[in-house]
Symmetry: D2
Amino acid sequence: MIPRYSRPEMVAIWSPETKFRIWYEIEAHACDAQAALGVIPKESAAAVWKAKDATFDVDRIDEIERVTKHDVIAFLTHLAELIGNEEARFVHQGMTSSDVLDTTFNVQLVRAADILLADMDGLLAALKRRAMEHKDTVCIGRSHGIHAEPVTMGLKFARFHAEMDRNRARLVAARAEVATGAISGAVGTFANIDPAVEAHVCEKMGLTPEPVSTQVIPRDRHAMFFATLGVIASSIENIAIEIRHLQRTEVLEAEEYFSPGQKGSSAMPHKRNPVLTENLTGLARLVRMAVVPAMENVALWHERDISHSSVERNIGPDTTVTLDFALARLTQVIDKLVIYPDNMLKNMNKFRGLVHSQRVLLALTQKGVSREDAYTLVQRNAMKVWEQGKDFMEELKADPDVRRAMSEAEIEEKFDLGYHTKHVDTIFARVFGAA
Amino acid sequence: MIPRYSRPEMVAIWSPETKFRIWYEIEAHACDAQAALGVIPKESAAAVWKAKDATFDVDRIDEIERVTKHDVIAFLTHLAELIGNEEARFVHQGMTSSDVLDTTFNVQLVRAADILLADMDGLLAALKRRAMEHKDTVCIGRSHGIHAEPVTMGLKFARFHAEMDRNRARLVAARAEVATGAISGAVGTFANIDPAVEAHVCEKMGLTPEPVSTQVIPRDRHAMFFATLGVIASSIENIAIEIRHLQRTEVLEAEEYFSPGQKGSSAMPHKRNPVLTENLTGLARLVRMAVVPAMENVALWHERDISHSSVERNIGPDTTVTLDFALARLTQVIDKLVIYPDNMLKNMNKFRGLVHSQRVLLALTQKGVSREDAYTLVQRNAMKVWEQGKDFMEELKADPDVRRAMSEAEIEEKFDLGYHTKHVDTIFARVFGAA
Amino acid sequence: MIPRYSRPEMVAIWSPETKFRIWYEIEAHACDAQAALGVIPKESAAAVWKAKDATFDVDRIDEIERVTKHDVIAFLTHLAELIGNEEARFVHQGMTSSDVLDTTFNVQLVRAADILLADMDGLLAALKRRAMEHKDTVCIGRSHGIHAEPVTMGLKFARFHAEMDRNRARLVAARAEVATGAISGAVGTFANIDPAVEAHVCEKMGLTPEPVSTQVIPRDRHAMFFATLGVIASSIENIAIEIRHLQRTEVLEAEEYFSPGQKGSSAMPHKRNPVLTENLTGLARLVRMAVVPAMENVALWHERDISHSSVERNIGPDTTVTLDFALARLTQVIDKLVIYPDNMLKNMNKFRGLVHSQRVLLALTQKGVSREDAYTLVQRNAMKVWEQGKDFMEELKADPDVRRAMSEAEIEEKFDLGYHTKHVDTIFARVFGAA
Amino acid sequence: MIPRYSRPEMVAIWSPETKFRIWYEIEAHACDAQAALGVIPKESAAAVWKAKDATFDVDRIDEIERVTKHDVIAFLTHLAELIGNEEARFVHQGMTSSDVLDTTFNVQLVRAADILLADMDGLLAALKRRAMEHKDTVCIGRSHGIHAEPVTMGLKFARFHAEMDRNRARLVAARAEVATGAISGAVGTFANIDPAVEAHVCEKMGLTPEPVSTQVIPRDRHAMFFATLGVIASSIENIAIEIRHLQRTEVLEAEEYFSPGQKGSSAMPHKRNPVLTENLTGLARLVRMAVVPAMENVALWHERDISHSSVERNIGPDTTVTLDFALARLTQVIDKLVIYPDNMLKNMNKFRGLVHSQRVLLALTQKGVSREDAYTLVQRNAMKVWEQGKDFMEELKADPDVRRAMSEAEIEEKFDLGYHTKHVDTIFARVFGAA
């Protein structure tokens, strides 16, 4: 995570201030529950809320931690400074540091997921708008980077919408994976704390209790969470690559929006580079690289070791901040993407009708020509277009073997673009629902 | 995938025979749908089913492919050899190779998922059985590899059960991810084939139609599938590491079953090595390594390129076969795991009562000692146990500062193991449901 | 590793026959050394060589292993069947299984490296030949997929040559990493075997003794080996991506060789897809995916655990076989790549002179125009080319502000292609040495 | 990279101040070379050095960049503010932004490598010191976590020393990989700049000229660099895992240094957790996760795209800072590691002599007992030790079949620990050179 690729709302989730605020809330809610159970005095629990509007002094806590070498103890010491030693006596009772740390991490991940879900909603809206706008903008479909048959630009947007919609559903599931909390004590047995405390804290923090924890919440949950972010990032790369291709000089069917004052290159002022989508390609790698370490984090020793911690201190903020930034950037790119329908038609006609070869092949077969023969017929005319720059339709019309099977009119009919777009509405209905 | 780590049922899914059989079924069902639409003659569609009980000659197809350099054409040529050129004329009409290949791949993944789900059921049953069996078998809980507080062996099994149960749910979701088919033609526009064909084929093959495909089914689905297998593999590693630790010479609380005739080492006949769980640790890495390439496969160029194909030809079989083997092996390990409750108690008592220090600390606090003071009291007595091998309870009883807060009986009460296991039933109910 | 992407010579290195042959040689050489030390009878050592020309019966060894569950014991048992129990008595004395297994694995990796080095020599030769052939074939250089300034096709080949030459040097280093053997006994202390045995065996097998081994040869060596393969694979991807781009329909500056009888697509007979380089893109991912598991293999427990073994049984053959195949395929692609110089010129002229904008900018600066002003001058004329399809040179000539700084002749001189290629010889001399 | 796991010297390499300082030096040296060639006025080149002692105003540059959206232009604009517009006119002439950016990145990586090399020297010194100190401290060697045969603690340190020494050599090679610079213009052809400028700048910056660059320095170099860091990190994990194992409660043969005031756990004051080495385990994952993205960065489009940039902006600082921190932390851990030789002996004797079984087996064979029979003899006595807690030596003495082959004295001789350590000096000489 670097400022260049960060947005403040997501960064704030991972600030020390936010972290200590969540710690505080967990401790305060736990005190309430302990008081309700009669384990600690009601007044002591109430006293903890005195710090409700306090700002926790991060520097002071760091200072204490340098002595104690223990972050939760440092925090509790500072809390005692705020509410008084006497009142602070019952705070954290029966709990272990990880109860606070792990529950907090999950609160942060859930909040991060909520921002990401909002990001995805924005992206989905942009994709839908552009899909509708270009539902009938015909362009050549390409397989292997080679012209195949016509599609529409709207279909591309619709396809990305469907993919991102799946990602949204995956993210909802991933959010649920980490929306658990644990206040279960040193090794998860509730020996020193009643499960009712966990239930109360989780409810207040918007989590469900982890069914069986150790000292920590099991890390398969987080592995799944980060794996899901990796898939979403890969879809971002997918869209980015498409745009980068469409913006290539020789293709130029679409272009990232280029503001009037923007300089493209210090050396070549005419250049408009797809730098945003290239950047997204790199950001996708950054999100994805957290997946394997998150999986390596699953196998902790016995009831926990702390090897996962340094990994999570990094990938927690880094991947959510980067993905948030990437989704926002992609939304902006999609929103403003400049589309060149004329270039699309120009490119499609580069090979004078060759894109219709499949239709002709099919027509010949339907007219009773064997598959092998039809293939030969199409291929020999296609080669003349390819090698000598001839026009495909003219060549077919002039080929007596073809004409034995098809009339001129029949041949011409095979070059109708509408043929290729006749099911676009069907596909749109599948993706966006009936109109 | 190597025979050493393979089981025949999963391997069979990936055999050329199975693949060609699925190709055949897809083509035959497509012909039925085309005939129903009146696109091809009903008799031609019916004729395709003549090969229903045929065995496809893999060598012959390979031979043809060496000439055509195209696998689907090779298959169709061979099919024509089986049912006659005339009858074969309408097979594959309007379809593109990827319609067959991608739908087939998903059929294979779905079948593989079904085997894996059955594997997980077996594993879950074994974990549950062992959990119930050792619900009350007390052993020391460890954080950082260091004694913490008591847990039970049943809690460990219950924890793994809960984790694997989550994995089962994830796998069900992952199966749904790839349970789609596409018969949508060269670039996914249904230009040459009616969507009704896709609907019919998918229904027959146990899939749902892909809402919007290109030449291929979008690869974010497969990325999610393989990512999920990676998470499951990581959980296998988690269990394997636990067992390897418990089997260490100095710990020896559990041991992989060692059959009477088995030789441990050519050099040290007394050795019983946890080779199965070590093996599982390695197998987990093999499954996990497919996750990133599966994500790299998402960003295909335009309406498809074929870069994903070589990756999937490998990771499709490799990860499912390896994971199937690993789940089966782990099930066997769990099923037969030898547990040593006596060693568990012996280990727990290694530090003469130190495991109860947390309870004492808490008790002191509850008696009105400040947290800081209580910590100091516990620590100074703990250090005598640690450094001089003293007995913790005796030291506490002899410490006048402790005694000012707690009576002998109160101290003794803090050393009761039942205290730690009192919520085991609660946790079991969460994991396995009410008894 | 699947047959489709395998070549026999590399596959043979990993066959059971080869493995057992290497095991045998290690055991036999060890016996010689033991006899020379007087540890075992000279006749016994000599007797082992009776099996010199024997073929080891893989099925028989597998059969024995199913009983003993130990592969080296199974092999030794079979060896005794071949040379007699009495003579076999001293075989393997003082050794541990890993002495044989690890030394064998390294012999295999070294042999694999030798094939890969030969592959790279072939690739380097092809790249050099094509570089020389197209040293002066001018084409547009592109940054961000957008036209920048002219380069030559030879420069592209030279660049790939330099990169692959670095990879060759890396592979030589990687080969040296794994060219060690260990015959050091159960935990590497030589307690039961003299270091002289290790020295003798290593010398005979073309290895150097591992300075300090445990039961195994340290795995940082193998991590480095597989990481190096991953870098080489990434360079293959780099070249593959370049060719895929050049073959795009709209670019078509180069094309994979397409044999006359080859069918491109079942549906679109005119298509010539860059399937070989797309395939190489996928194969690169397969080689690369072994890097992280190879690194995870480094941290074995104490003097060894066997978690690395299942990983290596797979990635050893898989990555070397795949990389061998990929290098050979790439060599063939480079060797036969069809280059279209005419299309290169046509593409370069797409924006009527805009590629020379940087030169004009520089010339203006040199004529005393401030950098900012020069930029503005170039940009405003460039925009007319871009937006209105004007000719850049004509616009510049017609711009009075430009003309104040430059004459017509001076402007024309800036559009000379030779300007851009004047240092090609210098660069070639750097890469290939002086002519 | 987060402050918690960072050290200032390495962080400083990646500060904006350092970056701009390097940019400045490159530009200034380039001006010198350009002046020497007569391309720009000598006075202009000299004038650039006016800013030699200036501090570049990062905020001001950022401010300009927000307008220009181009970092190098922003910097040049600010430089002009410092030295005057007139004098700045010739700065950057003929260069492209990447000439500066890429050369700077490599300067930073080289400086980072220098710090890492110094770190490794410190670590190697600590490992050597501890190796010498514990050359003869006998402890049990373990394979599979199970007791095997005796080794010494010094051998463990020596082994880690040898591994880290290999890593040092690898890092020297990796440093050389990235110690190149390029001042070759927009697409690497030197069209607008003489190669002599590159030669001069590289020499001044401690680099060698990149033989053939495009707009960028080829990224296979960086892939190799980061892959090497990944291997080093894996070795750190290897050592960390060893220490974590040795510190386990049941083993307790070594312990991270625990300062008197340090609190182990808020709940269990007696606990001394190996948190530093657990942390190192996680840090290793963080360094390793950069390897795959660095490899994905190799395949840039044509003469460059900018997808690699966001990746490198993160992994450049992150991996070097993390690895620097990890090496320093590991050095401290090794330096102060508390070793418990008594516990080592206690653990070794846990199975009353079983560790000597291999020697007995060998002795029996040498006495003429067949391998199979010897195995049986050893195994049946070993099982009595294992299952009934008998003493191995006593059992052997009491076994008439054993006694037929060996006398009491011969049996006793087989239990001599010195037998196992007799080659320690040989191994030390291999690792550290002759004494």
